[in-house]
């Protein structure tokens, strides 16, 4: 029904592309949500000495590996954007697929990590540290998954040379997902 776009979509009175404005709005909303989770975590952590003991059981190596995976995937997202800027849709799509591979790797590694931890008795109800751990990382993982799916949709259009501006937009979202992890990693894995 709404195949034709309204003229409203085509105007840029403020000089900023509409799609970019929309994505930044989404990112801003998410920053506040994750900000709430992280602020709650930090407040709790400061009030409970015993958490350090629980936090000692997270696997810093796996966390570091996943950090590397995400950072690399952000790199391929940047390269995808550059390719899209040059009009090279197929190359942008390939680089986006590489980013998705990074996302999937991240999620698989996390799957193994959590299985380990759960079988060792560290479940979501073991203590409030673990409740926060699974909740914060879980919400983040949901955003990784959602981002990956959207990325596949953008990539399939980019492959045909269509909607190339969306490569930058999903890239912005992906960097945000990365930055959230940059905050989570030290809070959950390093602060022991």
């Amino acid at each position: 029904m709404a195949a034709t776009r309204p003229i409203a979509t085509t105007r840029t009175a403020a000089g900023m592309a509409t799609g970019k404005l929309a994505v930044w709005w989404i990112v801003a909303s998410e920053i506040v949500i994750f900000g709430g989770v992280l602020a709650s975590y930090v407040m709790h952590r400061l009030a409970h000495e015993a958490w350090a003991e629980q936090a000692a059981h997270t696997n810093t190596w796996i966390g570091a590996f996943n950090t590397m995976v995400l950072l690399t995937s952000s790199l391929s997202a940047v390269l995808a954007h550059q390719a899209a800027e040059r009009g090279d849709g197929p190359k942008a799509a390939r680089l986006l697929y590489a980013t998705v591979v990074g996302a999937v790797t991240f999620l698989i590694v996390k799957g193994f990590e959590w299985t380990e931890e759960i079988t060792h008795g560290f479940t979501i109800t073991s203590s409030t540290f673990w409740s926060f751990y699974y909740t914060a990382a879980g919400i983040h993982a949901a955003h990784v998954l959602g981002g990956a799916i959207i990325m596949l949709i953008v990539a399939s259009a980019a492959k045909k040379g269509q909607e190339l501006h969306r490569v930058e937009l999903i890239g912005i979202y992906w960097h945000f997902v990365d930055v959230v992890w940059i905050f989570l990693f030290p809070l959950l894995y390093i602060a022991k």
């Binding site: 029904m1 709404a2 034709t4 309204p6 003229i7 409203a8 979509t9 105007r11 840029t12 009175a13 403020a14 900023m16 509409t18 404005l21 929309a22 709005w25 989404i26 801003a28 909303s29 998410e30 920053i31 506040v32 949500i33 994750f34 900000g35 709430g36 989770v37 602020a39 709650s40 407040m43 709790h44 009030a47 409970h48 015993a50 979501i124 109800t125 203590s127 409030t128 409740s131 926060f132 909740t135 919400i139």
Partner: protein
Amino acid sequence: MATQPSAPAHDAHDDHHHEQSFAQKYVFSTDHKMIAMQYMFTGMAMALIGGFFAYAFRMQLAFPGEAVPGFGVVSPADYNALVTNHGAIMIFWVAMPVLIAAFGNYLIPLMIGCDDMVFPRINRLSYQIFLLSALILLASFFVEGGGFGGAWTIYPPLSSKAQYSLTPLGATIFVGAVGLEFIAFLLGGINFITTAMNSRAPGMKLYDVPMVVWMIVVASILFMASVGPLIAGAIMLIMDQQLGTAFFDPDRGGDPVLWQHLFWFFGHPEVYVVLLPAMGIVAEIITVFSRKKLFAYRTILYTVFGTGVLSFTVWAHHQFISGIDPRMANVFTVTTLLISVPIAEMVFVYIATLYKGSITFTTPMLWALAFLGEFIIGGVTGIFLGASGADIYMHDTYFVLAHFHYTFFPIAIIGTFAGVTFWFPKMFGRLMSERLGKIHFWGTIIPFNCIFIPLFVLGMGGQHRRIYDYSNFPELAAMQPVREFATIALLFMLAFQFLFLWNFFRSMFTGPKAGKNPWNSCTLEWTADSPPPHGNWPEGLPTVYRGPYEYSHPDHDEDYWPQDEAPKEQPA
């Protein structure tokens, strides 16, 4: 200044719409005006439900233990569920959808001169999610254990453990419904901000934008910037409820006060989220009916920005005696009293708009003026509560309740009536009855004050909130006649609302036809047909040449100068 007209709306549009089915036009529309109507009617329906709840619990308060006609006997559990859902419904499912989503969706494209919102399908999705959230909330009354009854503030551990709330399913459904409503409005905000920023008509600078558009945009930003922590909190609360985590369980290392901070960090800016659109509506109306430019437009704008920022620094005034460090209370009482300064500024500036005007008292104008008057009372009574020392006594009493009804009622109800009576001719192409409108106005305002002034007195007398029967408290028993009086006043007020419904629906079908601009207003929406067709201006989108309130300009014959009227050629 550019004078070339914008391209006409695509003809391809019109071809499609000859064959639009009922479902396409009314149910699955992406047209901003239809989505606005959907929000408005859903909000009005929820208002009837929320109002019915108020009727039931006030009847219980006036005549404790007696069966309420249309409801039955109100048990203590019923009472708590009624007040809880009354509050939540009025804020989340009436004030927000009507003031922000309905008026925002309807007015923004029309007032900035474009054909629709930037993302019509996201717009439609936001309504669908909103409707779902309303249905989910209503469903909570029919599950085992009934609807949640732990107040709209949902404090744990009462809300997090079924053994305390006795509403195992209702509590989760309630929180889920609220969370979903948040998502709907975050999505809606995408459209408000991108459309207002980017889709303005050629020639419309930021300071030429009508105030209500600015207000809705700022409200959306405030909402977005404040709701995140509460979404996080809601997720944590649902996990406590259903998965047995202990985020808020003090027995296992959690902290119930954390919820309070997460809630009120949002809760306080939220009141400005709903206040701003109402003030925007009032601005549009008082300019038209005093034939005067809005006094100090930029001052209002900067004050609004300032208030928005300040609103993030006051939240713990809701928690003065709730166990926060008492030293923190001093910080928050300072910020809270300070915020009275920009609000007072806005009130003064609005009143100054009347100065040297030529005022006509139409129904919309009466509502707009009543908003100012009643809100002043609401605002000043907040000072008693913001002053920490006084709040020790006033917290959780009916004084608080009367204060926030003197702010929320003007916002949600008076603001809505003002906006509806003002833009009705544009929305439906017909005029409402002025006579019925004025009777409805007085029949609402007088009883409103009769309900809530007595409640201030009850609060001063130490009567606490959320108690279903005051006969258990000997010191409060003497005030029973006051409770009865307030309830009778409510019955009168509710009765007069039927007059509004009659006026509204009858005028929609048989009211006298309205032209494009029955109020002789300057803003762009009044240059489109009444009602505007799909695409709003099929003959070509307008270009703007001046600000939105050029009333009574000395260089112009007419006492209004529409924004899109091209300037006359200057003689050589």
